[in-house]
Symmetry: C2
Subunit: 337 residues, 2 copies
């Protein structure tokens, strides 16, 4: 592996590009307006720092996909900043929609500045994302900038569709597994698919390789969500209950829960009786496991992981970036550390 | 005037293009999701019809500017739909931020479907706007599509800046007139400036004509807002008080109010004592007039109207479209009809 793909260099470059995007706001002019966005991105305010910035997984996937597809990752930086800004725009609005007061250990934007300003901060972040993406016209070419913008727009539209379904699910008793996957496809997988595809687009590879990269990102997203659903019920934090991290308490209609409800057994009976208590979490998780919900979700995660890695193989990623992409995917899917 | 510029033909074409944009949602798939947006645009649900659709002023200005600058207005339709969608995205979010239950005589989106779904519906509308704009790459050219997209992004950023200031003003006692104009420049004028400039961009005229068209739209927006501020206090609906339409009751810090507060006279004294009653509206409006706030605002509106029309003259609009543009501007500024 060459030094060129030292993750830290990529992360630093992403951070620089994000700063460049936020500078479009005109920092000096409206300091507090800039501060809201910089706070959310983990740059400013109490608790600012690497651990509150998120892992910048999406821009990393994008840059590595670009390099692995034979492109220059530096050319893809405007797109990398754009996907991270889109992700963060959706988090700012999600936190309002879910009424979440805390993210990454800090107050959320709406909690700190109110719902009205938080909606607007998200809208600003969304705009900065699109502005960033079009800078591809100078790092790459106008044709690629337009193709990339259209790809990102489609992902944003799927994001809002997924969010629509997720909000609808809260009020529905019965949710089909198909509907669940459509929701996850929009909320999680569509943006990851856009990341890997945008890398290939900037690298200007063949259409068929674009599709393999996109499939890789999409399936990575689905598998990742299934893993996350497992951890939300059987992970250490969820089971010990100390941090209230169990999806059973949050009444999140995750994949194992939906599977469990379909069985119409003891789990479904208890779930339908109303809110689950901290003291019941361990027993109920065990019951759900007995009813095969864990095995079902694990098999699903494994199958999607295999398919993601097959798509990556078909994309034929090259060089050190290709190796890192494979490694990053396996790390995300907990196949290896 | 040729038949080509019959306003109804333009309006119908705008409406068709908007339908085309919304079809990107995939109507059949998620009927209710589509319905929220179609409802807001005045196409579906109780009370749907021309009077609930708004006047589509922005896309009209855009198409007329394009034709008056020597372009084919049909080529500009994707941009026309885009500015109308941006306007409506901002209305959906504004209504949440202002806690407004009614728009154009009907329940607002958040009132009907809740804040969470309304935030998301706005985000979807925002995305559809950007998707629509990039269709310029086929009606016009990729280079023009990128230039137009960047122009629209800048306007969106100014929109969020104006909204930030407007929300901040609610909590501030003292607001300078400079800050007021910066807010109005963002909230009202920036998008109108983008409309007229986008028309010129699609017409592919010279840079200096772009600037004249942009200045025309920007000043039109400022003058329009000043007019609106006058009507909000001294208009018939505001004075009769029957419909609660007085900005004095809404405690809106409009231009006449800010001017009045600066005078530190009887108006300021009463305003600072707290909420204004229906029964006081006529007297307080009179007091504000005595303190010259009306004359100040009218002089401002007149000056900006003159400047807007001078910019339009400098842009040298041609043919029937040019005449209609002049007419539309004067109508908006209440110089005639």
């Amino acid at each position: 592996m060459t030094n060129e793909f030292d993750t830290q260099i990529l992360i630093d470059s992403i951070e620089n590009e994000l700063h460049r995007s936020l500078n479009d706001l005109g920092e000096a002019e409206l300091r507090q307006y800039y501060f809201m966005l910089a706070y959310h991105l983990g740059w400013e305010g109490e608790g600012a720092g690497a651990e509150t910035r998120g892992k910048r997984i999406r821009p990393l996937l994008l840059l590595l996909s670009c390099a692995a597809a034979g492109g220059q990752w530096q050319e893809a930086l405007p797109a990398a900043a754009a996907v991270e800004l889109i992700h963060n725009f959706s988090l700012i609005h999600d936190d309002i929609q879910d009424n979440s007061p805390i993210r990454r250990g800090r107050e959320t934007v709406w909690k700190r500045w109110g719902v009205a300003q938080a909606i607007n901060a998200g809208d600003a972040m969304f705009t900065l994302a699109h502005m960033s993406l079009l800078r591809l016209d100078s790092t790459s070419s106008p044709g690629i900038a337009i193709q990339a913008a259209k790809t990102l727009h489609q992902a944003c539209l799927k994001l809002t569709k997924g969010q629509y379904l997720d909000l609808e699910f809260e009020t529905q008793e019965q949710i089909s597994l198909e509907a669940y996957w459509e929701m996850v496809g929009g909320k999680t997988a569509a943006l990851l698919a856009a990341c890997t595809e945008l890398g290939a687009i900037v690298a200007n590879t063949s259409q068929s390789r674009h599709e393999h990269y996109r499939d890789f990102g999409f399936k990575l997203g689905l598998a990742f969500q299934a893993q996350d659903d497992i951890l939300g019920i059987w992970g250490d934090a969820a089971l010990t209950g100390k941090s209230n991290e169990s999806d059973l308490i949050a009444r999140k209609k995750s994949l194992p829960v939906l599977y469990g409800l379909q069985q119409q057994g003891a789990f479904a009976k208890r779930w339908n009786q109303g809110p689950v208590d901290l003291s019941e979490v361990e027993f109920l998780a065990k019951q759900l496991e007995t009813e095969n919900a864990r095995r079902y979700t694990e098999e699903f995660a494994n199958r999607l992981t295999d398919e993601a890695l097959q798509s990556l193989f078909a994309a034929n990623p090259s060089g050190a970036a290709g190796e890192m992409l494979d490694k990053l995917a396996k790390k995300l899917l907990r196949r290896e550390l």
